[in-house]
Amino acid sequence: MLPKPLVAASFEPLVLALLARGETYGYELIQRIEELSDGRIVWSANRLYPLLHDLENRGLVAAKWRDEAPGPNRKYYRLTSKGERAMEQARRDWLDVNALLARLWGPDLSLST
């Protein structure tokens, strides 16, 4: 499991990135990220859903209920255009950080300027 601060910081960009690939629902998001990260990131429902609702409050995602039997309906989330822009910004920010780290740590982990 990645350290908590990293998991927390990467929550939003990862969710936005995943939603960019298409409309989906909460449980699927948890499963996909666990898969993609080889089990290093496991999101809890208690954290994910409030975050999705927060994104909805801020207008970055839009939600829709779909009828799926049996049991209650599923709430599907998709990215809005505002969300797309936010994702772009997040992407740039993370790539910047990543580039900086790559420079400092170098390909062979030796100290380089």
Partner: protein, 910 residues
Amino acid sequence: MSDEERSRFDLEKAIASWRHVHGRRRVFLTEDLDELERHLRDHTAYLVKQGERPEAAFRAAQQALGDVEGGEAEYRKVRWGKLRRRHQVRPEISYGIAMLKSNLSVAVRNVRKHKLYSSINVLGLTIGVACCLLIGLYVLHERSYDRFHAKADRVYRLLYHERQGTGVPRPAADEYLVWGSAAHAPLLEADFPEIERAVRLSGRHEVLVARDDRRFQEERYFFADPAFFEVFSFPLLRGNPETVLAGPRTAVLSETAARRYFGDADPIGQTLSLESGEGQGDVTVSGIMADVPANSHLDFDILFSMDTFEQRARDNDQAYKFDARGYADFFTYVLLKEGTSAEMVAEKLPEFVQRHYAEGLKDPPRSYGLALEPLTEAYHSPAGRRQPLHAGPMGNPTNLYLFSFIGLFILVIACFNFTNLATARSVGRAKEVGVRKTVGASRGGLIGQFLVEAILLTSVATVIAALLAWVLLPLFRTLAGKEISALPLWDPAMIAAILGGAVLLGLFAGAYPAFVLSRFRPSQVLKGTIQTSGAGLRKAMVAFQFMMSIALIVGTVVVHDQLEYLRDHPLGFEDRQQLVLDFGGDPRVRDEIEAVKQEFEALPGIDAASAARSVPGGYFPDAGSAIEAPDGTMRDVSLGLFEVDQEFLTQLGVEVVAGRLFSPEIATDTEQALVVNAAAAREMGYADPAELVGKRFRQWGREGEIVGVVDDFNFESLQHEVTPLSFRVSPWLRFLVLETSTADAAETVALVQARWNELVPYRPFMYSFLDQSFDALYRDEDRFGALFGTFAALAIFIACLGLFGLAAYSVQQRTKEIGIRKALGATAASVAALFSRDFLKLVLVGFVVAVPVAYLAMSRWLDGFAYRIDIGPGIFLLAGGLALLVAVLTVSYQSARAARLDPVKTLRYE
């Protein structure tokens, strides 16, 4: 039923149960629950597909979902955002308000249903809070002295101390003197750039002031330097503050003084006549000021310009009054410049003293020091208290502390009371709780209900208390003898604090029943098997209340006994039947004093007449004296000086220990004789006073022999030890003292007054009886005792209210037990005794703890008196007995009720 059916049945039920638990939390909206439930089902289905059994899969899925508390926290963070987005905020708020309203109406209904207990609770708390508010106002008043001056933070009072010899240790705070020399002020202003102004105040010796035929003996006045109104912010209603005291022979009157002399006429420009004293002559009224507020340590009605005093002194060869370091008749205040500090000035003061006064301090060698004291501390300051003249009222820090503690005590007692009764009551409501929970009330809802009820009661009590305090304030003012302002009550910060306190108390008092009761399981409660925990805490609180009440009773008794002791203590001279007439040292009377005395002696009912400069209980200057020591050398000693005529000491019947008193027959007595008291003999090192007779003395321009030693008698309030005192015959007298022997004092006074008006028509007739004047010295203590006693009684009353309520509930709880006991043959008396015993044990515990606490506190208070009672066991027994008696009476009412209960009735409801 097949396996599949059984497991599916499990799943739906499990999910329903899960949903029910989550559903009670208001933070989850229905759609949130739907979403989570969908998630749960998906995850369970996934695990089942992986090969798990349905039940295990569900448990794992539920585990993965997380606990409800964690979820609640996370969901709460985004809740308001969701509501806002859907425009559902207002319904939420309406919901909250509706809940509050419902809680309130239930609370009110509950209060109504249990009227007796509610009223007891509210009554006790109301009295407690009202007392606390009144005491709080008193304390605020006492601490507000002199703060109304605009420059108060820059004004300082000049203190000094003087000792024989050099290299003396630093003086204690109460060894500093205030009433001192005029010489310092102008020099300070010149030498110190930090000092913006230095002003002096003098006066307060009784003078006769007249306007036409209105004549009053004034004491509340000052001679003041011109910069007075620059330093102090006393509002000047008419006149220019810069010039109003600058001219020669001007006066500023307070509104009251103006009315006294001029009625409604305009006083400005008119003249008043000073018929005696330092500034004798006419003065012109140059200004009118508002009456001095109550919380000022400077108390005066009239200001005369300092020039009135100074000019006349210099003209009459008395410049030393203003120039000599050693002549004391002034109060000095300095105003520091902005940005300077008193410390900076204080550092340079020793050097200042050296620069100006070193010569005068050399022979005999003594040390002299100056100090600055902030104006705002003057009222409570210990400095200068033993000096004969004061600028105005002085506070008593010890009494203030005691009052603060009493106020706190009473508040704590009342709060304990309230909490105790609330928790006791809560036990009785356990059944109600059980029913509510069965019907589905949430724990949070119940807690809220209890808290609202408690806060309702405390708020009502507080509001009534504030009103009560306001209504009782005039009475309290009279009792305390102070003009306590009601203004702080209207201060918004104060109001907020009081209401906040009420809410806090409600929370605290409501918390215990709220949390404990709401935890009860309905089954327990309805069966009646709950444990009433917390009984130990309640008992401790009752014991604590009685401890404080008993301590207060002890305090009251000690104060009362001490005051009585002071009043009855033999003073060592004949203080009864002595009628004192004050003629203010008027030279017209003084010159004819022998004739005047004879005139009065001739009156029926008057046995003897004599005269003196002061009277016991009054002012005695210190006279630098030198007396022959046992080894023959002349030794300097500081003696109080009591100037008398030849008959005074004989008339007062002081006991002679060696030698003789003054005699009119012996001519040398008028100039060359001195009588001292035994304390003086001891001070000089004479073990046997008889040896002192015949020794030489030198004192203030006189030389001669000591002719007699008298036994120590109390010429000051019994708060002070008898200090060395000397007597000499002098024409500079002020009081006539007539020894009366009639039973009808009023008639004698009338006779004397008639004679006075014939003999001395130009002076007002001012009389007093010596023993009454002495008693008046203890007026402050009397007031303190009265207040103390009142509050002690209230504290006990409140404690008893609590006891009453608790006893009532105890009876209610144990009705069944009583029924059984009676059915088994117990008498009413034994049942009553059983009840009383439990409670009285608590009073006993309180007593045991109260004894050392009260002893220590009252010993401290008694330390302020040189003559004091011993705190004997009798006082404690009295206090304990009183508390016990009151407790017995309180509890016995309930016990009697308990004893009378019909066993048939109590055992019926099983």
